[in-house]
Amino acid sequence: MSFPLLTATAVLPAVGAIATAAVPAARRTAAKWLALLVSLATLALAIVILVRFDPGGARYQLTESHAWISAFGVRYELGVDGIGVALVALTALLIPFIVLAGWHDADPLETGSKRWRPTQGFFALILAVEAMVIISFEATDVFLFYIFFEAMLIPMYFLIGGFGDRAHEHGEEAASTQRSYAAVKFLLYNLVGGLIMLAAVIGLYVVAGNFSLQEIVQARANGSLHMATSTERWLFLGFFFAFAVKAPLWPLHTWLPNAMGEATAPVAVLITAVVDKVGTFAMLRFCLQLFPEASKWATPVILVLALISIVYGALLAVGQRDIKRLVAYASISHFGFIILGIFAMTSQGQSGATLYMVNHGISTAALMLVAGFLISRRGSRLIADYGGVQKVAPVLAGTFLIGGLATLSLPGLAPFVSEFLVLVGTFTRYPAIGIIATFGIVLAALYTLVLYQRTMTGPVKPEVTAMPDLRARELVVVAPLIVLLIFLGVYPKPVTDIVNPAVKQTMSDVHQTDPKPEVEAAK
Amino acid sequence: MSAQLAAYTTSTGEAFQFWVLGTVAVIGALGTVFMKKAVHSALSLAGTMIVLAVFYLANGAYFLGIVQIVVYTGAIMMLFLFVVMLVGVTAADSLKETIQGQRWLALLCGVGFGVLLLGGIGNATLTEFNGTGRANANGNVEGLAALIFTKYVFAFEITGALLITAAVGAMVLTHRERTERAKTQRELAEQRVREGKHVPPLPAPGVYARHNAVDIAGLLPDGTPSELTVNKTLRERGQIRDVSAEALNDLKALEQRAEERLERTAIEPANLKRAEEASK
């Protein structure tokens, strides 16, 4: 038996989390370095997976399968397809940056404060989230996936509630209240979604008799497993609801602005760029593959909801006064695009959506982390408290602008490719929806540029005159992300090559083919 | 009582005995629950237990019948009485309910449970009665012994362990470890002098020539009772008998009679009033 690469990528950060947590409090710097090393080692493993993965090969590769709870047919089954491998790589890529960006976020508070902040805990929790997210991307057993899908809420809850942002216009007390509100809201929303999914998971077991994704999909394809239409629809809704909360889709989105606003910037990136991707990923892997007919049945409603997310999220982003909440609403808009791409049921849409997940992760990380650096300098999240930063800290402003331009999908940067693919994919099947979604790009320009204009340009506000420019550590965080954004914008082929075969498979699972162009159809 | 009789039906004698003693047992049980004083409850319970002992005998459980009397009525109930004495014999328990709706809920549950239980028994098809005749053929005690030391030997050993644990536990709970050396008489006296309170010994209880029981507080010159005179334990239990009003009334009557005899007018009643107020 070959080396269990997939297990190793998940176990390594998990072990790292325990080891980091065990570092004595006096040596917190060692804990930070340990966490960074572990995340880098995980990245190395992810790169090995990426290299070993053969896009033209079997659908699921590097598979591992062991009996686990044999009484219920639960198996420990891992395997990655192109979509999974891309997202594992994204996760492993972002965590080192998150660790590095959050280097001082969990340092003990100034003396005199009674609150206890275990620095090692912060980094251990981040690694724990990484482990769980990675295994969710790898699991091909529904039950195994469910466990980690839910379990990642626990470390996230503590990261939001325990290590949140202390900047608040009404003082630290208000920040604390807001923080626990946000953490509880995050937990409750996702738990409700998860519980409904649990019911659907059990229902699936009752119908199918096991939890193996591959077996069920195969059985459905060759007709040996028949599912009544109504059963399939109910199960689909159960799964979809949980993923829609996680993604998040309008109107289940309101936890995200709170969570992202109250968490520190690196944790906000962890939420939106890593954890939320599990939701959209699961739609693609579980909803579409397990319940193809129900997916098609629900498509019109989901597309409309996604469309509302796009426009609504963008409009709300325009109306925000808080930098981080603005990015959160922008993310809601972007998740609308991802879901739109998934349910447009075209190769361009789904490849675009997968690419979008990767690109959105990188671009939001760039924007949000720079925003975090900005906020940490001034101690305020309000847009109105800034002005003229460009003059004082040009590098910070420049990187912020590039992050913003990536968010508004400027051609030449990575998100453009994915957004255009999603739009084209949607347009070929649903022209009206495609056109309305295109309005999203105008609104994206509006909220990004308004944010940039209000914070970075204009006369220099007295409070920001002494603001230092990006430090070396911060530059190390931002520069690679920007390089990646440009590289994937100019040459996205490496990713699309990995993703395309998997999307093709998914398309055939849902019995869909791309619409033919008019000229060919006429012939 | 013969084995045959213990079979399907019982003899008329047993029936008579059941109805009479059963009534007694129920009355005893009700008494346990509804008697105000713990002592009365304990006595009622003892009665019920003796009745039950008789019933055990009637059902062929001779050993248990005897054990019931010896252990339960003899030992456990006595233990109860001891504790009752320790806590206070006369402390009557107020039957007034303090938790809202508790009594009604309890009664409802009780009645409901009882009805269900009785209904359940009535519903069950209990037609087979083997009687204990064969089982008791070699003697009841021998039969039990055979079972205890073979089939149930493990459980038996465990109950032994349980009993020891319980005994030790009871000792641990009630035993109070002295953490410091007991003060000697001399030290106590010195302490009293140093504090300047009660330098002479505490006054004795009782109103001389009338009451000399330990639970009667001595009266001060103005007729009010002095709690100092009564033992601390009684004070805490609230078992002080106050005879001040009585004593003052007697005194008043005496004085009146004396005045009548001496044909004097009444003296100012200030003292009396104060005494009355104090006794309230």
């Binding site: 709300l316 999307v503 000229v519 | 809920l105």
Partner: protein
């Protein structure tokens, strides 16, 4: 030879990368690096031009396939460049004028501490613009399209500390984005119609598609062109864009970027040829903008904004010509090139004036500058004569051709369009004469600024005047050069196609009419601004003048409807999100909270209470057991 195409773009791109990430150590040489790389690109362009000239007319198309960009099933986007006569024309214009303006900027931006960055942005613009005109498919064109938008955004907002500049930059980008939306929808339509969006296959199989689809594509392309080329109704950004440094206005907002819309329409000529309805709309947009820009140009006192109105109007001519179909394509491009020369020259002249006048832009505070800055006066004057169509100068040939083509459209349409074009020529003469007179003639009207600094008008350094002289030569001679032997027509015809229209009026008559109107327009301006002294504060003016000063109220409309409306919409949505969407969830949570608060009272701490519930539970269990047995 094909491999040179990528280098055309690579040179300025390298410059942008170097200058923007190089840090302060490049501050001292940055501007020369930028200028040099721009010139390098021009040299490559000339080499390629020579190569093309060496081939026959039919084989003057070079393509270079670099790599596959986005491959997803049938969606295949390549990074492929296409150099044909049309793109070659643009390459030379962009790199040529671009290099001159780089040179000019060396002097103009000398005292700006962020000059290195400025040159980085300029190089970025060149790269994006070259990508735009060299792309072989619409998606790659779109990259360049937004790339120039970005560069324009960065350059308009270059003086970011000025809130007006930042706002203008944002506005330009946003309005352009609306246009970009049109371009992306057009690409999507092409993909669904043709299954591809590469120039060759799309334009080659136009005949297979339905006219409805083609009209839709055409209108979407027009929307894109309107955004980029500041045509009605998306013209509002151009005036504000003058907040940027003047070389930027000259390069981006006069000579090159704003003409991208014309390029797009001419490039997609095959689509428009097959969709007459779309063509009609194009001509209408062109005609309306032509008048709109001209009227706005008459009323502005800000020299750059007056020139911006003029630019809008001139591009209106080009769009009008492009909308005429094969009879107009060549003239649209020809006017584009000549306009590139004289308008860039005019802007550089304006910049030179401002440079000498402490950055004053109000023409009412100029006057009599011809003696103080003679070179600027002469080059500006030549540009002025070229734009109004003075005989035998550049504008004369290109604009006349367009007016003729408009008449040649035929029918009522022809008469209306031709009439508008003629009227436009008259107004052009009026406002340009006005600018000329107010700036260089009459009494000197300048005053000390609020700091008490009296301007000392002086001629600009030679690094600025040389580009102006070169451009002035272009504005004088280019038209005649192109016209001679129909050189330009023969050069472009293989790409755009050409038809001679049947003008109901003779060519001579049109030329005569144009000249008469020219004299009339210039004469009125002379009467108003040459004979009478110009008041330093603007008179209230007629209703039309006041409206024209406010860009014919279009901005006010945008402000009231879009900005205000949008603000209200977002504000109410924020409220809805907080109270309604969140409220439903929080309400549910609150009701559960209330319920549990009630239930909590059952936990009163009395052991007996708990015992009751245990006992009740036992009773229920017994009941359930009995019930199950009974059943």
């Amino acid at each position: 030879m094909e491999n040179l195409i990528a280098l055309l773009i690579a040179a300025p791109l390298l410059g942008a990368a170097l200058l923007l990430t190089g840090g302060r150590r490049l501050d001292s040489v940055g501007h020369w690096i930028g200028t040099l790389l721009s010139a390098t690109s021009f040299v490559f362009g000339v080499i390629l031009f020579a190569d093309l000239l060496g081939k026959d007319a039919e084989h003057r198309t070079l393509t270079q396939h670099l790599y596959t960009w986005v491959p997803v099933e049938s969606f295949q986007a390549d990074v492929t460049f296409r150099l044909d006569q049309l793109s070659m024309t643009f390459v030379l214009l962009i790199t040529g004028v671009g290099s001159l303006i780089h040179l000019y900027s060396v002097g103009y931006m000398e005292h700006d501490e962020r000059r290195r960055r400025f040159f980085g942005y300029l190089n970025l613009f060149l790269a994006a613009m070259l990508l735009l005109v060299l792309a072989d498919n619409y998606l790659l064109l779109y990259v360049g399209w937004e790339g120039v938008g970005l560069a324009s955004y960065l350059l308009i907002g270059f003086w970011q500390h000025k809130p007006s500049a930042a706002t203008a930059a944002k506005k330009a980008f946003l309005v352009n984005r609306v246009g970009d939306m049109g371009l992306s929808i057009a690409i999507m339509l092409m993909f669904t119609t043709f299954g591809t969006f590469a120039f060759g296959p799309v334009l080659g199989s136009v005949g297979d598609a339905s006219e409805g689809k083609l009209t839709a594509i055409g209108l979407m392309l027009l929307l894109a062109a309107c955004g980029k080329s500041a045509q009605v109704p998306l013209q509002s950004w151009l005036g504000d864009a003058m907040e940027g440094p003047t070389p930027v206005s000259a390069l981006i907002h006069a000579a090159t970027m704003v003409t991208a819309g014309v390029y797009l329409i001419v490039r997609s000529g095959a689509i428009f040829n097959a969709a007459p309805d779309a063509q009609l709309v194009v001509t209408v947009v062109g005609a309306v903008t032509l008048l709109f820009g001209a009227i706005v140009g008459c009323a502005k006192d800000d020299i750059k904004k007056a020139l911006a109105g003029s630019t809008m109007s001139q591009i209106g001519y080009m769009i009008l010509a492009a909308g005429l179909g094969p009879i107009g394509y060549v003239f649209a491009i020809m006017h584009l090139v000549t306009h590139g020369f004289f308008k860039a020259g005019l802007f550089l002249g304006a910049g030179s004036v401002m440079h000498g006048m402490n950055d004053e832009v109000d023409m009412r505070k100029y006057g009599g500058l011809r003696t103080y800055m003679p070179i600027t006066f002469v080059t500006f004057g030549l540009g002025y004569l070229a734009i109004i169509g003075f005989p035998f100068l550049s504008g004369f040939y290109s604009k006349d051709a367009i007016i003729e083509a408009a008449f040649a459209k035929g029918g009522t349409q022809g008469w209306i369009l031709g009439g508008v074009a003629l009227l436009g020529a008259a107004i052009t003469a009026f406002y340009m004469t006005r600018v000329m007179l107010m700036t260089f003639f009459g009494e000197k009207r300048w005053q000390p600024d609020e700091n008490g600094n009296e301007p000392h008008p002086h001629e600009s350094p030679s690094v600025m005047t040389i580009p102006m002289i070169v451009l002035a030569v272009g504005s004088v001679g280019a038209g005649f050069f192109f016209h001679l032997g129909d050189r330009f027509l023969n050069w472009l015809e293989p790409v755009t196609g050409h038809e001679e229209g049947n003008s109901p009026v003779g060519a001579g008559a049109i030329t005569a009419a144009t000249l008469v109107l020219l004299v009339v327009g210039a004469g009125i301006a002379y009467l108003q601004y040459g004979r009478k002294p110009v008041p330093v504060t603007a008179p209230r003016g007629s209703l039309l003048a006041r409206a024209a000063r406010r860009d014919l109220l279009q901005d006010d409309f945008n402000h009231v409807v879009l900005v205000r409306g949008g603000e209200h919409l977002t504000r109410s949505l924020v409220y809805v999100d907080h109270t309604l969407v969140d409220g439903v969830v929080n309400g549910t949570a609150a009701s559960f909270g209330g319920l549990s608060g009630r239930l909590r009272r059952l936990q009163n701490g009395f052991a007996r209470s708990y015992a009751v519930s245990m006992f009740g539970g036992a009773a229920l269990l017994v009941a359930a057991t009995l019930l199950m047995r009974a059943v």
